[in-house]
Structure formats: structure tokens, C-alpha cells
């Protein structure tokens, strides 16, 4: 009964979405107020029915309804409740339901937080989002129905993939989807603006908070995936340039460019056509990512149960949505006019530069990801494009980007003087070079790459702090004066510092990580990078749905006990697959990481892999700080009190 209700709710949602995507936008074009007024109610009603649908699927998992095929394939009576919940989005069909639900949540949010937006603009925005909903709902209902029933309900389910039975991986998809799907708002605003023929600073101001919040979720989602891979996959890696990782990184890069470009369009009324193109591209890349993951076109560890037939459907959807928006762009962009100008040496130029670098990185990652497909399609055989390629392209480009970060935030709008900047920042640059050059001396060996990374991180941090200092200097460092500076300024500074922290993490961990495979008998010690690992043996234990071999080690430094660690090798009873649960001792300046190998002899010897990974946490601290900065920027009072006071002020300085 409940699954049928869920299925029915999904169909109703589709019907509502059809109305939502057609009447309001036509009403806006023809000036029919009653049709325009349908935007809010249809959006909210669609959300209501999708919540029902999702709840039904959730219920089916919680009560172990194995008559539903999707539940039977992804659950089990022994599966803990929390993972029965996350199993809802653990495979293709359910994750699609999550996708459309998240889209309707964003649409609903837009209907609520839109007091300053003219009704006809809102109508267009809601309709565009409705069109995307229609596409995904049709896809779900026609090819990937999560409510399909089995004629004979099995007694037991096939269990959720053990890899997914993990907190980090449970929340990784919802975060990612909030990000990917969130970019549809900026996309819808861009389309609405092109349809309505009005592209002004107001459009940029409306789009900014939505874009920022989507970006925050995407940042968190990607870093969750990276962190999960690190502690779960057993060999200490955190980014593999896997096609699906790249598919999530591309909208992030373009989304970052978009955030910066929107800032310029809002403040200075320029870069309009470019910002529109970025808004369209960011969401288009999200859709492209969906295609790459679900069509089977690229081998990836993430690939869902792939099916070229599904691929065809998504491709057609892509052609309609992206092709349509780019055609609209080709028609409307030439007539978009900017209202101000700027000099060669100005913040506008610096931000343009930032955009160019980000887009070049994105284009290169896209090229590398699709190149094997390209060659195969042309009949030139199969090649692989992996981390060696991506690293050699990505790393050099981050250098000008990082240098620019320090400079851009300090530059003046419209016109600035190179000498002024040299005076303001020259000293800081010198300090950064010295600090960066000297710090590697404290490590096991001197590496020039470490010096560069540390120099860039120091540069970004010092310039960000300097920026804050200059703002508060004359007002005094009081609580009142801090409150008087716009939150978005602090958001920017903090997000940039987050980038610096991130750079420290990847530089130091890439260069100074140490790893060793050893065979140890109980009582034996091994010294790695100043840490003494003592092996105490392995014993058998049981978990709720698995059996484990649990290793025991103590780690000391300078004869002081630092950590007691228990690496495990688990066998999940249903899928009968061995899994390594690495033991990690997390630290601010280093992680200790141990993976249990195999038993190696009657004397209780086991093979073990030991790692010391310096500063690896800084990678995820960095992304968290970036997300925090974004949150501060998104909650700036400009956006919270939009409509009443702001309109009178006009273009802000």
C-alpha cells in the first residue's frame, strides 16, 4: 500500500511539475496574472508530494518491505537503522528520488525567500526549475522507478554495499545534491533574465546568496567524499581524479568563478553576459556529471548500475536543457550591455583573471576526463588519462591563482595604481617568500615544491589578514566596529584563508608522507618518521552484521605513548566480502594510519601497512573554512533585508 502511495505521489508531482513549468512562464510572457500566480502554489505542492513519495520509500526501508525491489536489493534485516535510512539513496533509483526532492526543496525555498523579486521574474525562475523537475521525474518514472515491486517478496534482502555502511558516505550524496541542484537556481535566474530581457544588478543580487549556498554544500559534499575515501579505502589516498570525482569538481570550479563574477556584476554592472554564461555552465556541468555517472560511458568506481538506455534518455535531456539555454544565450547575449567601465589595473581585471584561470582548469579537467572517450569514438584505440596528467596540469595553474588571491581582494574597483599595491603588499610578499623558503627546513628533507606551496599559503593568509587590519584600523578593533564591516567581507577573507590552509595540507602531505609495508610479530617495533609502532597482536571479534580480525598497536614518540590503534579486517556476513577498516590516529599536524594486511606465519605475524601523513587534516579543515567563509558571505544583511531598504540605494560601491 505505502509503496503504491509513494509511486502515486511521484506521478502527481510530475503532473504538478508540468503545470509549474508551463503556465507561469507563458503567463509572464503574455501578461496573464492568474497564470503568473500559479508559480508559488505549484512549486510548493510539488514539494509536498515529493516529500510524501520520499517518506514512503523511507518507510519501506525502515520496516524491511522486501516486496519493493529496490529495498530488497539494498537492505537486510541485520542492517542497522541509520544505514537503512541512508540506503534510500544508496543506489540509482533512490538517489534519483533524492535528486528530485532536493530540486523541489530548492524551488520551494525560492518561493519563500523572494519578497523583493518581481512576480513575473519569479514566475520564469520557477517555471525553468519546473522544467528540470519534469525531466528528472519522467526519467525516474519511466526508467528508474524505486517503487517497483517483486512478485514474490524475498525473505531476506541483499544488504547495502558495506562500503556505503558508513556515516561519511551516508551524508555525502545529500550534500553533493544540495550543491549540484542548488546551481539550478542561478541557472533559472539567468534563463529568466534572458527570457525577460532584463539583466541588471538586481538580477545578480538575487542570484548571489543562492549560488553561494549551493557552493557551500558542494564544497562540503566533495570534501566529505575525499575524507571518506581516505579513511575507508585503506590506502591513505584522498583524491584520484576519477571521472566521477572530476564530474563533481567541474561544477565546483565553474561555480567558484560564477560566485566571483556575480560579485562584479552586482557591484559594477559589468561582465553581464559572461556571468550569465557561467550560471548556465555551472548547472550544465552538474547535469553532465549526472550523465557521466549513470550512462556507463566512462569506467568509474562510482558508476551506478549503468545502462546505455538510461544514458540515451539523459543525453536527450541534456540536449534539450543545455542546448536550449545555450541557444537562448547565442540569441540574447549580443544585446546585453554593461553599464560601467574599468581600467586595466583594477579589481575587475583581477577577477577576470581569476575567472580565466578557473575556467582553464575546468576545461582542462574536462578535456582529460573525456579524452579517452574522444579517441575511442574516433577509432584511435583506448588510452588512460590519470593522476599523472591531471596533477601536471592542475598544480602549475594553482600558482598564478594563489598569487592572484592575495592581490585581488586588495585591489580597488574601477581603477587602481600598481605602485599603491606594491607599497601595501610588497613587504608581505617578501615575508611570504622568506617564511615559505625557510619552513621546509623543519621537515625530514628540503623540497622546493614544499617551499612554493608554503610561500603561497603564507601569502594568501597575510594578505587576507592585512585586508582585515586595514578595514578595522581606523575604526578600532571593537565589537561595534567589527559589526559595521559587511559580513561578506569577513566571509571572503575567511574563505581565502581556507584556501591557504588547504594548500598547506596538500603540499605537505603529498611531499612528506611516509609509508611502509612491514611484517611484524607480536612485541616487535618499527620506527617510521620518528614514531615507534609496536605490534601487540590480532584477535577475533563480532560486529552487528560482520565478523572482524582486530589488530592492536601502540604508537610512541620520544618514549611517550601517543596512540593505541585497532586496525580491522571485517567480513560482512551477507555479501561475504572482506573489508579493511584502517586505524587512524588523527592529529592537527599529522595522521597516523595503519592498515591490517594478512596473517604471515604461525608465530602470529601479520603484514601491516604503516603511514605517517603530515598535515593531512588541513586539507579538510581548509575546505571547511572555505565553506564557513561562504556561509558568512551568504548571510550578509544585504540579502536578508533585501527588498525594503536596499532598492533605494541603487548600485552599491
Amino acid at each position: 500500500m505505502i509503496p503504491e502511495l509513494g509511486h502515486f505521489a511521484l506521478i502527481v508531482a510530475l503532473v504538478i511539475a508540468l503545470i509549474q513549468s508551463s503556465l507561469p512562464v507563458i503567463g509572464a510572457a503574455k501578461g496573464i496574472p492568474s497564470w503568473i500566480a500559479l508559480a508559488k502554489p505549484t512549486a510548493q505542492l510539488q514539494l509536498f508530494f515529493l516529500i510524501i513519495s520520499f517518506a514512503c520509500l523511507l518507510y519501506a526501508f525502515i520496516v524491511h518491505d522486501f516486496s519493493v525491489m529496490y529495498v530488497a536489493n539494498n537492505s537486510n534485516t541485520a542492517l542497522p537503522l541509520i544505514y537503512r535510512i541512508s540506503a534510500v539513496w544508496g543506489a540509482h533509483e533512490g538517489s534519483l528520488l533524492l535528486w528530485v526532492l532536493v530540486l523541489s526543496i530548492w524551488t520551494g525555498a525560492v518561493t519563500v525567500f523572494s519578497k523583493s523579486i518581481p512576480k513575473d521574474v519569479l514566475a520564469r525562475v520557477i517555471s525553468v526549475m519546473g522544467m528540470v523537475s519534469v525531466g528528472f521525474l519522467l526519467f525516474t518514472l519511466l526508467t528508474s522507478n524505486p517503487f517497483e515491486r517483486l512478485a514474490i517478496a524475498p525473505v531476506q534482502g541483499q544488504d547495502l554495499n558495506p562500503l556505503l555502511q558508513d556515516f561519511g558516505l551516508a551524508i555525502h550524496p545529500p550534500m553533493l545534491y544540495m550543491g549540484y541542484v542548488g546551481f539550478s537556481v542561478a541557472f533559472a535566474f539567468a534563463i529568466a533574465a534572458m527570457l525577460g530581457g532584463k539583466l541588471d544588478a538586481a538580477w545578480a543580487r538575487w542570484s548571489r546568496p543562492w549560488t553561494n549556498i549551493a557552493w557551500i554544500f558542494l564544497t562540503i559534499g566533495i570534501s566529505l567524499g575525499s575524507w571518506w575515501a581516505y579513511y575507508e579505502l585503506g590506502w591513505g589516498g584522498w583524491w584520484f581524479w576519477d571521472p566521477v570525482e572530476n564530474a563533481s569538481f567541474l561544477p565546483w570550479l565553474v561555480g567558484t568563478a560564477l560566485m566571483h563574477s556575480l560579485a562584479v556584476t552586482e557591484k559594477r554592472g559589468t561582465f553581464k553576459a559572461w556571468t550569465v554564461l557561467l550560471a548556465v555552465s555551472a548547472f550544465s556541468l552538474s547535469l553532465l556529471g549526472t550523465f557521466l555517472v549513470r550512462s556507463g560511458i566512462l569506467t568509474s568506481v562510482h558508476a551506478f548500475a549503468t545502462d546505455p538506455a538510461r544514458g540515451v534518455y539523459i543525453l536527450i535531456f541534456l540536449i534539450i536543457v543545455i542546448g536550449g539555454s545555450l541557444t537562448l544565450y547565442a540569441l540574447r547575449a549580443p544585446s546585453i550591455r554593461s553599464s560601467t567601465t574599468f581600467e586595466l589595473f583594477s579589481r575587475e581585471t583581477a577577477l577576470l583573471f581569476n575567472n580565466v584561470i578557473l575556467v582553464v582548469v575546468a576545461a582542462s579537467v574536462l578535456l582529460g576526463t573525456l579524452y579517452p572517450l574522444l579517441l575511442d569514438a574516433l577509432g584511435f584505440g583506448k588510452i588512460s588519462v590519470g593522476p599523472p596528467y591531471f596533477n601536471s596540469v592542475f598544480v602549475p595553474l594553482t600558482i598564478p591563482l594563489a598569487l592572484l588571491l592575495g592581490v585581488g581582494a586588495m585591489m580597488r574597483w574601477k581603477q587602481d595604481n600598481p605602485m599603491r599595491l606594491v607599497k601595501a603588499l610588497g613587504f608581505l610578499f617578501a615575508v611570504s617568500v622568506v617564511v615559505g623558503g625557510l619552513l621546509p627546513l623543519f621537515f625530514s628533507r628540503y623540497e622546493f615544491g614544499a617551499a612554493i606551496g608554503l610561500m603561497l599559503a603564507t601569502w594568501i593568509t597575510l594578505t587576507a589578514l592585512q585586508g582585515i587590519r586595514l578595514r578595522l584600523m581606523n575604526k578600532g578593533y571593537t565589537y561595534a566596529s567589527i559589526k559595521s564591516v559587511p559580513r561578506s567581507f569577513f566571509g571572503m577573507s575567511i574563505a581565502h584563508i581556507g584556501v591557504a590552509v588547504f594548500i598547506v595540507g596538500i603540499t605537505l602531505t603529498s611531499i612528506y608522507s611516509e609509508e611502509k609495508d612491514v611484517r611484524m610479530i607480536p612485541g616487535e617495533k618499527y620506527l617510521l618518521n620518528g614514531y615507534s609502532f609496536e605490534f601487540k597482536g590480532v584477535r577475533s571479534t563480532q560486529g552487528p552484521n560482520y565478523h572482524a580480525e582486530k589488530g592492536h598497536l601502540t604508537v610512541s614518540k620520544d618514549n611517550q605513548l601517543v596512540a593505541t590503534m585497532y586496525p580491522e579486517k571485517r567480513v560482512y556476513r551477507v555479501q561475504r566480502s572482506p573489508m579493511t577498516e584502517a586505524a587512524i590516529d588523527a592529529g592537527l599536524t599529522r595522521d597516523l594510519f595503519i592498515a591490517l594486511g594478512e596473517p604471515r606465519g604461525a608465530d602470529g605475524a601479520w603484514s601491516l601497512r604503516l603511514y605517517v601523513k603530515p598535515f593531512i587534516r588541513w586539507i579538510w579543515f581548509g575546505t571547511l573554512i572555505m565553506a564557513l567563509g561562504g556561509l558568512l558571505a551568504a548571510t550578509d544583511r544585504r540579502y536578508r533585508f533585501a527588498g525594503k531598504k536596499m532598492n533605494h540605494k541603487g548600485v552599491t560601491a
Binding site: V301, Y371, I383, S384, M579
Partner: protein, 157 residues
Amino acid sequence: MKSIMIILSLFCFLNPNIYAAAVEMKKFESDLHEQRYKNLIDELRCLVCQNQNLADSNSELAQDLRNKVYKMINDGQSDQEVMDFMVTRYGDFVLYRPPFKASTFLLWIGPFIILIIGLLVLVNFIRHRKRNVITALSNNEKEKLKQLLNDNKGKFK
């Protein structure tokens, strides 16, 4: 038939066994040999679990190939000889660093070209920005403005 291939290809994803760390004890003559071994197995792709390199994959073929790399290094063969051995038998697919040839020219030069184009567009945009600005009103627009002002003369008091 198709379902069998799908099952085989799903084998690696659905089977977390491959995520059980491949801990192997290998003895090397020198640190340099060990470093070369680690670098090589990082850059060679596993053909069974195609989303892992030889270092990370736990599939049997990966184990066999790692042993082969180990043997070749101990026999004094160079990195290039190891890679050539693999490529002769498995094709360029086995290299995660695509070789630089005619067919991959666009791949390696591409980012550089995109960067140059990006910079050119940037320079072009900056140089032509003045043209986008609405500077003076045309005569038609001047007339319209006059009319509007006249029409609204008495309105703001």
C-alpha cells in the same frame, strides 16, 4: 550475455574485497629500487579493476603484474623497459600518464592552448570594454527624454 558482462564489470565495484589493502612484503636492493617500484605501480593501471592503479588493486592480475614489475626492477631493467613491456601486451591503456604521441597531442597541448585563448579573450575584452558602455544618447533618445521631462513637469512637488 550482456548481463554477464555487466555483472563482471560490476564485480569490482560491488566487491569491496578490492578495497582491502594490498599489503605485500617485497625486499629491495636499495631505496632507489623501492622508490622506482612504488612510482611504477602508481602509474600503471589495473586492467581488471580499472579504476585503480596496480599499487591499490587487490585483483590477482594486479598481484601478478606487480610481481613482474618487481622482478624486472631487480633484474636491472629500466623504468622505460618496464612500461614498454606492459604497453606491448596491454596497449597504452595501461599507462595512467598518456604517452605523448600524435593522437594525444591535443590532450597535452590542450590546456596550454586553452590558457592562451583565455588570456587572449581577456585582453580583447579589456581593450574593447569601452565600446560596451552606453556613453552618449542618440538624437532620438534625447528627444524622448525631453518629452518625458515635459510630460512630468508638474508631477513632483
